[in-house]
Amino acid sequence: MAPGERNLMLLFLVMSVGAGLFALDLVLPEARLFPLITGITTAGLILLYFVVSTVPWLRQHLAIYVEDDVFLKISGVVDALEEEAEDAAEVTHAENGLPDEIRHQREFAIIALLVGLGMLALLVGLTIATPVFMLAVMIGYSRRPWWLALTVTAVTTLFIYFVFSVVLRLPPHFGLLEALL
């Protein structure tokens, strides 16, 4: 199991166990029962997935449950693809060729940009945060020419203003700044 997948499954495990444990604190049985069953079952499935993925004997005998694209395999599409259409399979999985180090750097940069967008939107509102985000992505991250980035940002902002403020009549959002205005 790849480290990234393991981390994702651990996150899900924490959520499921948490759902089960917090359900015990609920007062009414009608509110408690369903989350408890779902939390325990999901946590059990995740633990089983960990066990089957790591124990070689189980992995060998229950491979079909942990392998990807079960339906494609049952229907024979995967086998046929491997034999006859390697090019087509490459098209859909192009991103797998990216080295891990570069991918992690890029993922970190984009998550930082998204968090920045969220925080800026909270402070000064989406009306100001979204053009800043677009410029940051196009100029800072993707290294596009500034004039192109400015033009695309201006056109998109005008489009958003037209659709949401003119057509849907929603007022612009200025976040916490709104209280000061």
Partner: protein, 511 residues
């Protein structure tokens, strides 16, 4: 029959202004996002959800299903001309479509693709027309235990059929259910998992989750992979005469068209199975049923006809579980069903009982969309393909910003922006590690319904858990669920037996 009476009511509503406008906007959106390699049609549908603020259910259906019907053929244009499928189901079309284009017969291939798509959709809708009344009779016999078991079976089926392993699918569905518990309990009214935060009282917003999972995760993927711009194409091989030759070719091969379309419809009916399976299965049945299989892969026009017919027919097939049972036949339908909640429509078996005209609007939209899409594609393919020259580095921030603003605009709650961003990152990593998104959405969508049906089954029938196995339809659903879960083991055993037989034959040698 009563069900057919509402069929023409649905047509009448679709032809009433402003539904034709939303239909046209939907088809154009579908064509645009179907053409853009790297961005799926699902992104286009998710981005349109906030724009339907104030829409009725019929208008929303015309817009969303128009986009669904519009994307299937347009993805084949780039598959044929650029060897880059617009959507993943169009990958099968590249196998023979691109070699045809390289031989200077791109117009011929596009003519085949457009006609096969439109006719495939019609054949799929005819099958749907036959099945819908039968399914409706079954649905009329549904009560609380059946609603509950339908949700369980749907989750199991979608988990088994989605990309990624069965375990991952089930886990994704479980996480979706857990997220649906946030907020007030539907039966007891007690607050759950809100941790004293008032923005969580109304629960996890489904629309914000859809926008995050389907649009923002794609934006992240585009920015991480930095996909290259499609190469420039020479459109000189797209003469009108070639295109018409392609149209005629489809009508000269009616049996292949019908076979592929029925296969596509059948695959589409299984909840969660995407068009990729439909188009590749149709392609391989065309190869295996041919007298000269060696011609395929080198520019055989039948290799374009079969997957394109199946791909469009699958949309009609996937409409059946989506509209009749509320179980999304594909990721696009998962978004549409989620978005319909916003318009007062409760997806599930009650939809066909309570709002049959909405079901018929979807039917007619699929019918007209496939023709409009194909006709526009036939005439405008050389111009449409230029859209693919837009660099993903420009496209991604535009889509990202539209998604975030859209998530906020629906309820003007900042928590929805946080949900959309959070689900965007989660969706990216789920895709990255082949954990399917559709079971999560289904869990989130059906969580409250399943919980309510579970308690109502226990309270109304007063038989305990045995009620789920003592009613015939509920028992059938239980059996199907068990079969879905053990099918992979049975399939594995069969594969092993076949492998052992082959090895034995090889060790004995030729007699």
């Amino acid at each position: 029959m009563e069900i057919f009476e509402t069929m023409f009511t649905g047509l009448g509503e679709l032809l009433t202004w402003p539904l034709p406008l939303w239909f046209a906007v939907g088809v154009l959106n579908g064509m645009l996002f179907g053409l853009l390699p790297g961005l799926s049609g699902s992104v286009g549908i998710a981005l349109m959800i906030p724009l339907t603020f104030g829409f009725g259910a019929g208008e929303a259906m015309a817009l969303f299903v128009g986009a669904l019907g519009g994307q299937t053929f347009s993805g084949s244009i780039t598959a044929i001309l650029l060897n880059t499928p617009g959507t993943s189901p169009n990958a099968a079309t590249t196998l023979d479509g691109y070699p045809l284009a390289r031989q200077g017969r791109g117009g011929f291939a596009i003519g085949i693709s457009a006609t096969a798509s439109a006719m495939g959709s019609v054949i799929g809708l005819v099958v749907l027309l036959i099945l819908l009344p039968i399914v409706r009779e079954i649905i009329l016999a549904f009560s609380f235990p059946e609603f509950m078991m339908l949700a369980v079976m749907g989750l199991a089926a979608i988990a088994a059929a989605s990309t990624g392993s069965l375990f991952k699918g089930l886990i994704s569905g479980g996480i979706g259910l857990i997220l649906s518990f946030v907020g007030f309990s539907p039966i007891a009214g007690e607050l759950r998992y809100v941790f004293g935060l008032s923005p969580l009282f109304s629960g996890v917003d489904l629309i914000a989750a859809l926008i995050g999972l389907f649009a923002l995760s794609e934006v992240m993927r585009l920015l991480v992979t930095r996909e290259k711009v499609a190469p420039h194409i020479d459109a000189s091989g797209l003469s009108r005469r070639d295109v018409w030759e392609g149209v005629r070719f489809v009508f000269a091969h009616p049996w292949l068209l019908i076979r592929s379309s029925i296969l596509g419809t059948g695959v589409g009916i299984v909840p969660g199975v995407g068009g990729t399976v439909a188009s590749f299965l149709a392609y391989f049945q065309a190869v295996h049923s041919s007298n000269d299989p060696e011609a395929f892969g080198k520019g055989d026009p039948r290799g374009v006809l079969a997957p394109e017919a199946a791909n469009d027919a699958k949309d009609a097939g996937s409409a059946l579980p989506s509209l009749a049972f509320g179980l999304p036949g594909s990721s696009d339908w998962a978004i549409i069903l989620g978005a319909l909640v916003l318009h007062g429509v409760n997806p599930g078996p009650n939809l066909i009982r309570e709002a049959p005209e909405v079901v018929w609007i979807a039917f007619w939209v699929l019918f007209f969309a496939s023709f409009v899409d194909s006709i526009i594609g036939l005439f405008a393919a050389p111009y449409l393909v230029k859209i693919t020259r837009v660099p993903p580095s420009i496209l991604a921030p535009v889509v990202g910003v539209l998604a975030v603003v859209g998530a906020f605009a629906l309820q003007r709650q900042f928590v929805d922006v946080i949900f959309a961003l959070g689900f965007g990152v989660l969706g990216y990593y789920m895709r990255r590690h082949n954990v399917p998104l559709v079971p999560l959405i289904l869990g989130l969508l059906l969580g409250a319904t399943a919980e309510r049906a579970f308690f109502q089954s226990l309270q109304v029938f007063d038989q305990g858990l045995s009620i789920f196995v003592t009613r015939p339809i509920s028992l059938v659903l239980v059996i199907i669920t068990v079969l879905i879960l053990i099918a992979p083991i049975l399939s594995l055993a069969r594969r092993r037996r076949r492998q052992v037989d082959t090895e034995k034959e090889m060790s004995h040698g030729p007699r």
